[in-house]
Subunit: 204 residues, 4 copies
């Protein structure tokens, strides 16, 4: 007889009886409102009203509004999970990174950045969830592609691929979150040029 793995903090609701209609309406409302106004103006009451749903129904299934956004993005944002492999590393990276750069300009990723990452600064649980469900899967896919390239002799043997992934994508997040300059396709070219070839003058 196995002990239940979930401790059921407060008479856990039964997911089988969950209303899919309400769930979708809540995710839709959250994304819409986050697109229309800024994340700080996003309220549980607003989501409930827009979704035509009781507040309790939200609190029954999600611990916070950030958790709603997380689920919404995880469910609807699977498009940036593709990673091509044409044999040409630089071209493949350009394809994928351009896709990310364009996503950063879409309303849904506005919700992502303005909402989740901001909330993550004040809530370690959100931070953990963002890393695990959003960041890591994409990082892993990128690292696999890089690993093939390293095996093929296209990349130096002595570099850590996780560090290289960081170097490639960090500048996109930098502009997104610090609002210095807009994220563009040109930026991707620049990053690839610098990261692959290095900034130093060839010693020859």
């Amino acid at each position: 007889m196995a002990t239940p793995s979930t401790p059921a903090p407060r008479s856990a609701p039964n997911p089988d009886r969950r209303s899919e209609r309400a769930r979708q309406a809540i995710l839709d409302a959250a994304l819409e409102l986050c697109g229309e106004q800024l994340y700080a103006g996003l309220t549980m009451e607003g989501i409930a009203k827009r979704a035509g749903v009781g507040k309790q129904t939200i609190y029954r299934w999600w611990p916070s509004k950030a958790a709603i956004l997380l689920e919404a993005i995880e469910e609807r944002g699977r498009s940036t999970l593709d990673f091509p492999d044409t044999g040409n590393l630089e071209a493949d990276l350009r394809t994928q990174m351009t896709q990310v750069a364009q996503a950063f300009a879409s309303p849904m990723f506005a919700a992502y950045s303005k909402g989740l990452i901001a909330a993550a600064q004040s809530d370690p649980d959100i931070a953990k969830a963002v890393v695990e469900t959003i960041i890591n899967p994409r990082v892993d896919l990128c690292r696999e592609r890089l690993s093939k390239a390293q095996s093929a002799g296209e990349l130096r043997e002595d570099i850590d691929l996780a560090d290289l992934v960081e170097l490639l994508y960090a500048p996109l997040y930098y502009r997104l979150l610090l609002h210095t300059r807009p994220v563009t396709n040109d930026q991707v070219d620049t990053i690839l040029n610098l990261a692959l070839n290095g900034a130093a003058q060839d010693k020859k």
Copy 2:
């Protein structure tokens, strides 16, 4: 009856009569509270009570709590504005970037990141102010140092220095804001190695 020269939208306060004691107490209280708890738990009422100050005194001089933090950091955080020039570019960058990496771990920069940058996602004014008063001055100093190196033939001629600054510092912000891994001194070495020398295998 003379019209006052300043239109005074609503009885503009006179800075000459401002109480420096109250101003310092408010900045102190804001930083202390931001260090003790998360930014989301930082309230105007809490700052006023901690500072022994009326709420009106805060609203008279600052438009938001983020503005308070901004002023606090601008006033107390001038240390990371130094930029060395020993003639060795990589060493100088390592010195400065290590300094930044260590600042990211200090309580005051917790306030900076968790507070200001999060708030900037929901408030364009804050975003603008952060870039102008915090980011740009440091970027400019870095770019000047890089410019000397470029003139000295240490860096490729064809690269944009603003892009290089981004490439160097973005990974630090990436870890800070996305909470993937802690920011360490080792990270600085890795960034410099990759960014200066490139990840690609030497074509010989």
Copy 3:
């Protein structure tokens, strides 16, 4: 095509299939909860949980929680319906009124007073039901006894017996509902003395 004889506003439940177990459990739970806490803290959800019953089962058979109490009291509280006739009017009244006075102190009558009468102030249906099922039967019995006494020449011919019943029992309700003094057996003696003999000095 025959119209059903009962219009069945919304699928009227069939009393033949009613679960007597559930009915008793609900009445018990309602009385217990009303005894343990104040009427204001009595909830449909609490009754359902205590009775181990679905909420719908309650709503199917009763329109309100006051209706539950009413049925509970009507079913279990038939004891105060006895009215003695020993030939001595004052003694018989003392017997019956003392019984009522003691009932007012019992937990079940706490439910009666604190629950039903309070609810009756906000719900005319409850008020009507209380009068018809609880008050009137007892008033009628008392009036019959008084009528015999009037015929026997023990009471004045010119008085309305309904008014006299009121005069006798009203002071018990007065203390019960206004919480001025506790209802005691002594009060019964005092009432009988005053109501039968009058407060005025004999003119003699």
Copy 4:
């Protein structure tokens, strides 16, 4: 150095700074709403909205909606505090009791009965306050008048005047709260006739 007499449960508000405008608006709104609908439909939120007041302002000064009604009635309902003394006891009682009987039909006393007395069944504090601020002052005035009559030989020496007050007024409350028959002026005559002269046949 004196210890403050009030323990100040939670940073007690300063009554000197209280807004009389808000206070009157709240009392008005409570009485109006209680007159329009039944007490059970009276909500703090409704009062706040009608009064144009924040909910906090209500909770700052009153512990419950019953407390609001109590203050409203105490402040506006001083009219039934008069007690005549013409030398004719029965006439004076008739005057006063008729006044009370008529008050029981007015909207404000609907609030009184349907609200306060119902609430008193579930809240001992309310019950205590009702007795002390509403009931007792009026009972005392009546008892004084009866006392004069007793000294003047109009009433029997052996009766407790508090009991007589109860006997006189209880039937009015009986009809009011139990909703058996409406309270009328005729009822007052009946009560006086019975209570003063007694129901028993003169033994002569």
